[in-house]
Amino acid sequence: MLSKEEVLHIAKLARLELTEDETHKMQKDLSAILGYFDLLKKAKVPKVSKAKHSNILKNVGIKKVTRVDKAMPQVASLANNLVASAPDKQDNYVKVKSIL
């Protein structure tokens, strides 16, 4: 079973605060699911250096196209709508706590 420390380490990487109960349940659930994932150990893939890494776009045949680096005209309301969605804002800017 995953230790409490392991769960808390992953939670820290994922920026998630977990309660004591959640941490305990996570130990149990993650261990069961990761145990199931171990099934893949049985799967025979070509030697690592040669094994193909799946690429969905290539598989389906979609060409990767980078769009021209030019501003696309948008209606003025879009920017307002986007800023309006932020929980904390000031003068049409999204407000964030200081980082340093």
């Binding site: 920026r15 998630l16 199931y36 799946s54 045949g61 969605s85």
Partner: protein, 471 residues
């Protein structure tokens, strides 16, 4: 026959002949929703004002023009993970409880262009993570065929709304079966298109290499009309393909139908197997060739899928951090704003999947989990490529059983994941598949899954239409 029984094609004819107006049809739906939805729980939000406005606008066009688009004046419902400008979009999460969509998803722009009427936003598992809608932060959508059972998920509200005659059609999304499974459980038609066939701009991302938007409808023909309306290239989605759907006529005579033996092994309800075998018999009688095939890596599909999905989801859901939108928790510093917002805003399934994905991608585990899963994904894709050299389409069950009871699997996440066994490999390979009502067990619908090769929706839909007539 009441107005809410009519299909898209029948409504279109009726509008043309001035037998009724879109406003009358829309009002009939709104009344029906008021009467029945408190029991079913398909809708998170009914957009009455928007719907009546759109219906009135459609009626003006219908009154003055001889020809108008197929979806003109037709009322539909939309999964709450898809943005409709100015309307709430929660994805059934508390973290987006007060979020209003700042723009329309491309599929919504296309529906609006055709003149469709939007009745409301439908329930789902939080961020489309689940197979029953029991993971919704707001409510469980019940199965209209038996209110003690689930509607399936994650697009359960969409499937239930069409099944309960609370919408003519619906749009959902399918990452690992989220259209096909609820379609099977609720007895409606649901299409998961080829990866890239429909733009995903404006769909809240779950797993970007798997997600695809698709329709729910009463009939295969309706499904085709909607798919035609929403598919095609979009500059706002870099993964959208340059694809124009062309309808085709297909005869069952001589058609090669593959039956993968691995899909009929341990774990499949014998009653479901009987119904699927019956459909195969019918196709055979009509002249189709039934060809046994093997998809040997099916056994790895669920593990491969959940490693890929959780990894991508852990990255995609990083955007919900209390800064740009939605719920935000007051805290002393920025880092605590993130952790507390996410800790309080996400429900238990998103948390579980974010944790699993973060683990699979973390230093020391990446090779054993994420990288291995991508290699096995390639094997699964090759299985299908080989199969489609021999057959035109593949028949299989959608789910191992009919709709299960509310609460039956809610406390066992792994048991819930295994419900996806027959649907996830289609997403891993990026190919299209439809769920077609094929029979019932004790009043509960069972879906037949018809799988096609990349961008062969024409074949899948044509075969489904022929099977629909015989079942």
């Amino acid at each position: 026959m009441s107005l809410i029984d009519l299909t898209i094609t029948e409504l279109h004819e009726g509008f043309k002949k001035k037998q009724f107006t879109s406003t009358e049809v829309t009002k009939a739906y709104l009344e029906h929703i008021k009467a029945i939805d408190p029991k079913i729980g398909a809708y998170l939000l009914v957009t009455e004002e928007l719907a009546l406005g759109q219906a009135e606008a459609a009626d003006k066009i219908i009154a003055t023009q001889e020809n108008f688009p197929m979806l003109m004046g037709v009322p539909c419902s939309i999964k709450d993970a898809i943005l409709v400008e100015g309307q709430k979009a929660t994805s059934a999460s508390k973290i987006l409880e007060n979020y209003f969509a700042p723009y329309d998803a491309t599929v919504i722009t296309k529906l609006k262009k055709q003149g469709a009427v939007i009745l409301g936003k439908t329930n789902l598992d939080e961020f489309a993570m689940g197979a029953s809608t029991e993971n919704s932060a707001y409510k469980v959508s019940k199965n209209p065929h038996d209110l003690t059972r689930v509607a399936g998920g994650s697009s359960g509200g969409s499937a239930a709304s069409v099944s309960a005659k609370s919408a003519v059609f619906s749009l959902g999304s399918d990452t690992g079966g989220s259209i096909r499974l609820p379609a099977s459980f609720c007895g409606v038609v649901g299409l998961k298109p080829t990866y890239g066939a429909v733009s995903r701009s404006g769909l809240m991302a779950l797993a970007s290499s798997l997600d695809q938007i698709g329709p729910f409808a009463k009939t295969v023909e309706d499904c085709k009309i909607i798919f035609q309306a929403i598919s095609g290239n979009d500059a706002l989605d870099a993964t959208s393909a340059d694809y124009n759907f062309k309808d085709s006529v297909i005869n069952l005579k001589g058609l090669k139908i593959g039956i993968p033996k691995e899909y009929f092994a341990k774990g499949l309800d014998p009653e479901v197997e009987k119904i699927i075998n019956h459909t195969t018999e019918k196709a055979k009688e009509a002249g189709a060739k039934i060809i046994p095939i093997s998809l040997p890596n099916l056994q790895y599909a669920v593990a491969t899928y959940y490693i890929t999905l959780t990894s991508e989801a852990s990255s995609n859901l990083a955007r919900y951090d209390g800064i740009k939108y939605g719920f935000s928790k007051e805290a002393e510093n920025l880092s605590q704003v993130y952790t507390k917002t996410r800790g309080e805003g996400f429900g238990s399934e998103p948390k579980r999947r974010i944790m699993l994905g973060t683990y699979s991608l973390s230093s020391g585990y990446y090779d054993a989990y994420y990288k291995k899963a991508q290699q096995v994904r390639e094997l699964i894709k090759q299985d299908f490529s080989k199969a489609f050299k021999k057959v035109d389409v593949i028949f299989s069950p959608v789910a191992p059983s009919p709709a299960f009871k509310v609460g039956e699997k809610a406390s066992d996440p792994l048991a819930m994941y295994l419900v996806d066994i027959y649907t996830v490999s289609v997403n891993l390979a990026g190919i299209p598949a439809i769920s077609l009502p094929a029979g019932k067990i004790g009043g509960l619908p069972i879906g037949l899954q018809i799988i096609g090769n990349h961008f062969e929706e024409n074949k899948v839909l044509a075969v489904a239409e022929l099977m629909e007539k015989m079942l």
